[in-house]
Symmetry: C2
Amino acid sequence: MDAVNHQFRLAARPRGMVGREHFDYVEEPVPELEEGQSLVEILYISLDPAMRGWMNEGRSYVPPVALGEVMRAATAGRVVESKSTKLAAGDYVSGWLGVQEYAVCDENAVSKVNTEAVPLPTYLGALGMPGITAYFGLLEVGAPKEGETVVVSAAAGAVGSVVGQIAKLKGCRVVGIAGGPEKCKWIVDELGFDAAIDYKSEDVGAALKQHCPAGVDVYFDNVGGDILDAALARLARGARVVICGAISQYNNLDAVKGPSNYMSLLVNRARMEGFVVVDYMSRAPEATREMAGWIADGRLVAREDVIEGFERFPDALVKLFAGENVGKLVLKVGEEE
Amino acid sequence: MDAVNHQFRLAARPRGMVGREHFDYVEEPVPELEEGQSLVEILYISLDPAMRGWMNEGRSYVPPVALGEVMRAATAGRVVESKSTKLAAGDYVSGWLGVQEYAVCDENAVSKVNTEAVPLPTYLGALGMPGITAYFGLLEVGAPKEGETVVVSAAAGAVGSVVGQIAKLKGCRVVGIAGGPEKCKWIVDELGFDAAIDYKSEDVGAALKQHCPAGVDVYFDNVGGDILDAALARLARGARVVICGAISQYNNLDAVKGPSNYMSLLVNRARMEGFVVVDYMSRAPEATREMAGWIADGRLVAREDVIEGFERFPDALVKLFAGENVGKLVLKVGEEE
């Protein structure tokens, strides 16, 4: 194969907001396959808040992306050539193939996916890492009980939109916090949330008081900052705060804003617990099987916000951190056949 | 009885540091007993960090002390007159009788204590609310396992000194954080902690790294602020942070300092959980029975730091928040016979 491969490689570690200047746009020949390998044409690249953390130096739950390395990303694509007995040309797959147009991969580095039941980009969203994060973070860490009140931030995002819908399926009252009227309308009208709070135009604390008269039993936090503090101030007795992310803090130049209201954990005998989805990957099939069923039944809405064009990867990342996506943000870089 | 009763009543709600000016010193006749009541001469008054919170207005785990009300306090004393069949003159008792010299109480408002086995003021310390707090907070919320590393702040205080000793009894490695060489020497030499960190002269983060090479499995926090942040930065995988108090923040004029390093909960799949000892009061006998046995065996050292003189109550409270006490701080206001 004589195709050219384009890549975004990490060029510099950002301080503050990530941008185009932190990546090198590189052109390379597509490498030759060795025995057992397959060549995947990447069709969709996932944009995830966690990417910002991977660009930092230092200890975290996964190693940072090295300078000069292809930027880490979840991807979905099609096998175009294979020297593996497990994969054949034409197979659709998902896996961690990075921000590039083609990837050579070992046969166990990707999973075959069924695009007849579910659209390919959904394997990066509701049936990918964000959905699995929502599923285990809510059900295992948040452990909501029927009739409880669940609040989720970044509620129109890839994780939050699934968290809220699963909480509804489990019989909870669900309140979503999102930015702007479009997202708020979507989560109530299309996803079935009981209420939405627009943090851009409302006082979140007052709105939580209004929409959660008996307090917040489970708060699933994707954002940190002032919204986490507002939720802590409204905890019910025995509440669980699930720390999934802190997108408001990832591009900070200043120190992270710690939750000033953390003593609410004491007053309300509540707990705040962090988790990392990689710990649940061995159980991922149980999550994706159940969620695929809900999608097929129409009980779980999976929506992707699609940006087209490989070279727009840095713009897409900026859009993600500006909170402009509704549903799972993906970059479309090629056409399905 | 013609005795005069002196009281400290809450005169004003402090903003910032508590002081003499927030109390009225009042003289009253001792009231007459009604049927079923007893008159207790208070001999020891407990000084507890929680008192500062009770002086604030607003929602917490117990109602605030009202302006004009006798300041709430745990006390130990002797029955001097009784119209109850459950209590007799000469009985030693403990209960929430407030900052005063005499109290008329209903027969179920106090508990009889045995001063032959254990000195009376210990019922305000290791066998009182602080000890019960330490016992359940550590064992139920922190849930340390043998061989784990337990770190406790305010380690020479009423709660911290018991937490560390129980953790040692359970086979843990124990590191205490305290202020000044005297306290640090005491917790290592007399209480058997494995190491002490003097936060007044050491870099707590660096010292935690040195003394907890495998990270911190249980951090029992009594102080909040920078020390909580330092401990969060050193958590081991699956750590439990027990939020018992935040004495560094109680007299703040500024907003509470939230823990900037709270995202360590995510990276380390850790949890931070608050608790209030009143929830465990129905199980208090199981704690005091076991701890009384440890005291009798010499396996648990109970130490009180005694200030004498009823009128010195405000000074004693200031001493508490200045962190000058070693062991349980009590005010001695009368003589045992």
